[in-house]
Amino acid sequence: MESSSTGNFNDEQQMLADSVAKYLTETYDFETRRAVANGDLLTPQPQWQQFADMGWLTLPFNERDGGFNGGPKELAILFEAFGEHLVLEPYLETVVMAGTTIANGQEPLKKRYLDGIMAGDIHAAFGHGEAEHSAERYYVATSAVQSADGWRLNGAKSVVANGPLADVVVVSARLSGDVRSPQGIGLFAVERGAAGLTARDYVTVDGRRASEIILDQVDVGAEALISSASELLDQTLDLGCFAVCAEAVGAMQALLSATVEYCQQRRQFGQPIGSFQALQHRMVDMYIALELARSLLGATTDALANNSAHSQRLISALKYRVDQSARAISYGALQLHGGIAMTDELNVGHYFKRLALIEKQFGSAQFHLQRFKQQPTI
């Protein structure tokens, strides 16, 4: 049943896939994960340093910057495995979102943060969504006004994932234009400890950490401005979207496998419940939903790797499909497991919660449907 979404690995990619799978299978069991999820709000996840030691944190960065020069295929390998094991470590936030953004900044900024991020010493977060406008991709009311020696930021960011642990937060702030304009949005690196930055930290329903961040007259230096072009914001959001879609495929695979296994082992009416046709058909539909998502993940990976002009169209297709598949598979997994899936003890419900939050990130199904329609056809 299992087949890689991304197919055709070269030797290096195969090694990465093998080592990630081996490490997570051996060390990241569900009880370990539970301890991390239920751990203190401000204690770093204990396995993060091992992620660094294995070189995973260097993956998407350029060789010039000390990175591994990994592309979308490597990212997909990593995130599928993260999804399968419900990994809580903030790779998405620190490395993919904040890290790759900072890598687009000027040398002093890169020097200050990149080595630390790759070494596992620096945590980072990406703050973009704002209050009731979190579904609006370009809604940025947070303002950036040029000051004598840099910029002054004012505004608030909602549900900033990994905010509690972050040493640096990359925030979007408006340089010009209306609050909804796709243009005129800058990305700034702000120290979490900066004067005027206050945060309310909390645990999220999927066992992660996030913050509500308020920026009240926060002064940053000129070098804090990473980019004044909205393209970098778009690129980063799309990369994050791609990563969580790969994660979702891994999680859906795990849910389907768990469900099939459970239905073969659970007996009612004198037979395994998996022998009932109604249940078989539901699992077949879950399998189809998974494979459709997996196919789009593979196609999107290739498009991104080839810098295809259709990448954005594919990312929207992928996210839309993932949202549909995630719902079909997680609802099916819960229903077929019955009461046991509604407990904290079994992992099934935790996959459901993670997938439910992935659906709500990086654009709703409706957003991606519209963007898909607006992109030129292949």
Partner: protein, 394 residues
């Protein structure tokens, strides 16, 4: 609504205005499942009982009312939409009708007043680790020893067993014949030596369910409800109440109101408030149509002498619709589903909530609603019932 019904509605509203304290309203508003804060539920139970409204559906001679179907409907709707906390239902809605139908005079005298007053809180021991959808295969043994049954086995998904002082349960008293033929219905005190429990933490992080263990628990034979080995008929009568006795349409009204409130404050991707967004409001309207169809179905059930087949339709359609509405509310809430705010659901929580203040129940409700097609006869079992009993498919 007739003039009398309007008068009745006004009376109920007046009562709620006078007796439902802000704390109790908070307990009602903060419900994320069919259960409310236990202490608040009990407090409200006693207030209703003082008025004679704790068990309105029971016959008058047992402390019920002589209300018409419409009055019951009005009463339930006013309470629910007025955000009254739900009462612990198993005694009033489930065991009460059974006692009235199958109980001995002594059992009725002993138990019914204490259910009505809230003195006894009952839990239901039906499912077992090995007997869920296939309930008739239950294996908890009750062996006769003089005036007692000695009970051994385990029950699971026993809602609020950790707060209940009584349990009614199905036990196996015979292994002869069909599995259904050897089941008896027993009433027991939770503090009977040999009965113990472990709490089950739910997906939302709270405890509503338990597993109950029986280890040589001695239960008086006098606690048998109905005849020995006739427990299945008793249970089936009860299941009708679990499946058909619930007004899903009132749940839907409350859920739809919540979804609208969230959608009225959050913005869709296109910068339009969700309530005004074409795609979202179409989805909402479609669910409203289903809710209306279900409401009329429930009216047909109430008007019918033999609702039988339609009760499974109502349970299936009702629970699946509740799931869809809570999913839509969660969609509109977007990123704000993320904060885990269990503290904020406590009635005495005084701090500011994270994110919009009309949505602290949304994600927990969305999760918990997935159980609605599992408990009380799963959706698969309901479909089997309709296929066999209604459509005649064998």
């Amino acid at each position: 609504m007739s003039k009398d019904e309007l008068t009745f509605q006004a009376e109920v509203r007046q009562f709620i205005a006078e007796h439902l304290s802000p704390e109790l309203v908070r307990a009602g508003k903060n419900m994320t499942s069919v259960f409310a804060d236990y202490d608040c539920a009990l407090q409200w139970h006693k207030i209703l009982n003082a008025k004679g409204w704790a068990a309105p559906a029971w016959p008058v001679e047992y402390g019920g009312t002589d209300w018409t179907q419409n009055q019951h409907q009005i009463f339930q709707r006013e309470l629910k939409l007025g955000n009254a906390p739900a009462l612990m239902a198993l005694g009033i809605q489930m065991l009460g009708p059974i006692l009235i139908k199958y109980g001995t005079e002594q059992q009725k005298q002993e138990y019914l007043p204490r259910i009505r007053s809230g003195e006894d809180i009952w839990c239901q021991g039906y499912s077992e680790p090995g007997a869920g959808s296939d309930l008739a295969s239950l294996a908890t043994r009750a062996e006769r020893d003089g005036d007692h049954y000695v009970v051994n086995g385990s029950k699971i998904w026993t809602s609020f067993a950790h707060r209940a002082n009584k349990i009614f349960c199905l036990v196996r008293t015979s292994t002869e014949g069909r599995p259904q033929a050897g089941i008896s219905f027993l009433l027991a005190d939770m503090d009977t030596p040999g009965i113990s429990l472990s709490e089950i933490i739910g997906l939302d992080g709270t405890v509503e369910q338990c597993q109950v263990f029986f280890s040589d628990a001695r239960i008086p034979v006098a606690n048998l409800l109905g005849e020995e080995n006739q427990g299945w008929s008793v249970a089936k009568y009860l299941l009708e109440f679990e499946r058909g006795g619930h007004n899903y349409s009132i749940d839907h009204q409350k859920l739809l109101a919540k979804a609208r409130a969230i959608a009225g404050r959050q913005y869709a991707h296109n910068g339009v408030c969700y309530l005004d967004d074409a795609a979202f409001s179409d989805n909402l309207a479609a669910l409203e149509i289903d809710a209306m169809a279900l409401e009329f179905t429930e009216q047909r059930i109430k008007a019918s002498d033999a609702p039988g087949s339609l009760t499974s339709v109502a349970k299936l359609a009702g629970t699946e619709l509740s799931q869809k509405i809570s999913a839509l509310a969660s969609d509109a809430l977007g990123a704000h589903n993320a904060p885990l705010q269990r503290d904020a659901l406590e009635v005495d929580y005084a701090d500011e909530v994270i994110g919009p203040d009309n949505a602290i129940t949304t994600f927990a409700e969305y999760i918990n609603m997935r159980a609605a097609t599992i408990y009380g006869g799963s959706a698969e079992i309901q479909r089997n019932i309709i296929a066999r009993a209604v459509l005649g498919l064998k």
